[in-house]
Symmetry: C2
Subunit: 81 residues, 2 copies
């Protein structure tokens, strides 16, 4: 059973990295959502840390941006770009 | 809206790495579940790739094992140990 949990710090790491990579690649939220098979609203909520996003959707988003999922979970990612 | 998705490859990467690190640290599923505030059944299902685990719970599991979440999502993790 997946209990209701307090947002983990990893949410904001993923949120910020996802937005940063998307912008670096000059991809709109709409285009990312389409490529990942998700809704734009959902992508927007994930980028604001409002979604307890699942591993499957995190994988789809990483694939859609052409980056490794582990990179989007690296708190230091911005320094490595 | 989080649509029903096909299991992503990242699930099995996380599942295998979680089990490997847990065993390396000689922590039982029960002890990991307790430390992470989750049920043993849930941890067992995550380790079998049967759960579309959320980022919050992934963060709790990584914290409970004292490893960085990005490491548990590294397909090459086993080679780096």
């Amino acid at each position: 059973m997946e209990k209701v949990s307090k947002p983990h710090a990893a949410r904001m790491v993923f949120a910020k990295n996802l937005r940063q990579v998307r912008r670096l690649k000059e991809v709109s939220q709409e285009a990312l959502a389409l490529q990942a098979g998700l809704s734009r609203t959902y992508v927007s909520e994930v980028e604001r840390g409002e979604r307890n996003v699942s591993i499957d959707n995190m994988g789809l988003l990483a694939d859609a941006l052409g980056v490794k999922l582990k990179e989007l979970l690296d708190p230091e990612m911005l320094k490595t770009l």
